[in-house]
């Protein structure tokens, strides 16, 4: 889901950079000292995840892990994903520097959305099973939202929106399922060993 250099029009690149800057500023404001190691770990996981590929027919999709980042980090997902994308562009050639802002927005906005939704849904939930299921659902939906978001950005630069969205969604069906299952198990594991990391509070009141 990395958009390459040279595809988008300049106003979109600038707009994306501005929105990304605002999101990163908000993330930096919200992040607390104790969250920094967790943020570092998820940035690292996101950075490496893009090398795990899923091939479906002629398309090639990879793990994104933005839903997991959003669920665990909230707004801090913005700076985390920006740093991850920066090093993916520099070291792997995924995406590019000029599209960094747009790619950050396309990946971090659904992530933060999934995170906020997750926090709201598990507000008073005490069943680890249900919380883990919601994490899985959030992570899966986050991939769908990221595909739609990327399609919308491509459409703003003159592509057929519906077709692009459809192609991106189909290409990411397995990624969606994979990340949902992964998020379920990570959430279930965290609830056993350190629920505060996932919920920001102890499991039982």
């Amino acid at each position: 889901m990395h958009i390459s250099d040279g595809i988008l029009s300049t106003p979109i690149l600038i707009g994306g950079a501005c929105v990304a800057a605002a999101g990163v500023a908000q993330g930096l404001r919200k992040i607390e000292d104790n969250d920094i190691p967790k943020t570092a770990l998820l940035t690292a996981a996101f950075f490496v995840a893009s090398l795990v590929h899923v091939r479906i027919g002629p398309t090639s999709a990879h793990l994104i892990l933005n839903g997991m980042a959003g669920i665990l980090l909230g707004w801090a997902a913005f700076p985390a994903l920006l740093i991850g994308l920066l090093f993916q562009a520099l070291l792997f050639g995924h995406g590019g520097i000029s599209v960094l802002g747009v790619n950050t927005v396309a990946i971090a906005v659904p992530a933060v959305g999934a995170g906020l939704m997750f926090r709201r849904m598990v507000h008073r939930e005490t069943s680890p099973r249900r919380i883990a299921l919601m994490a899985g659902l959030g992570a899966g939906l986050c991939i769908a939202a990221t595909a739609l978001f990327s399609a919308a950005v491509l459409a703003l630069s003159g592509r057929a929106w519906l077709r692009t969205a459809w192609v991106l969604l189909v290409a990411h069906v397995f990624v969606m399922a994979g990340e949902a299952v992964l998020a379920y198990f990570i959430a279930a594991y965290l609830l056993r060993v350190r629920p505060a990391l996932l919920l920001g509070r102890p499991l039982a009141a």
């Binding site: 990395h2 040279g6 595809i7 000292d33 570092a40 002629p58 090639s60 991850g84 792997f92 050639g93």
Partner: protein, 164 residues
């Protein structure tokens, strides 16, 4: 009345026959002047690309646009990569030709091929566009990421801890 219809029918049948004979004569007399005559010859070579994703999967069925040296805006030719991610075209003049391959999902590559006056092709450097995703790049990236966050934590924590 009845007779005149018969007469007209016979006349029209005669005209059709005449036209057919003339057409047939034309066909036999001038075989090369046919509008639908098609001749094919075998060709080889061409300039082109093979495009793969970073995991080695070919970018099949991707849209390709070729831009001629003197017209960088309007595509000179449009096409599609084959099952193996390949595309070929035949430059018609010297200069720098630009090929843009785009899979419609946000992945695109642009490469240039320079055709000199002897017809030789020079492609821009392959190494320039190739990224190594070996363990060293992964380790380097992880190092940078943890380093950045480590420094960040260090600078954030320092002033907030006045010792009693």
């Amino acid at each position: 009345m009845h007779e005149s219809i018969l007469y007209r029918q016979r006349m029209s049948a005669g005209r059709t026959l005449t036209a057919m004979i003339l057409l047939l004569a034309g066909r036999v007399a001038t075989p090369d002047a046919q509008a639908h005559g098609v001749h094919a010859e075998r060709i080889e070579g061409g300039q082109g690309l093979r495009v793969v994703f970073e995991d080695g999967a070919p970018m099949a069925g991707a849209k390709v646009k070729v831009f001629a040296p003197d017209a960088p805006e309007k595509p000179w030719q449009e096409g599609m990569t084959d099952q193996d991610g390949r595309f070929l075209f035949f430059p018609s003049k010297t200069g720098v030709w630009r090929m843009v391959v785009d899979d419609g999902m946000g992945h695109a590559v642009a490469r240039e091929v320079d055709i000199d006056e002897h017809g030789h092709a020079h492609m821009d450097d392959d190494h320039h566009h190739h990224h190594h995703h070996g363990p060293s790049a992964i380790i380097a990236g992880l190092g940078f990421i943890f380093g950045i966050f480590g420094l960040w934590a260090l600078f954030r924590r320092r002033p907030a801890r006045p010792q009693a």
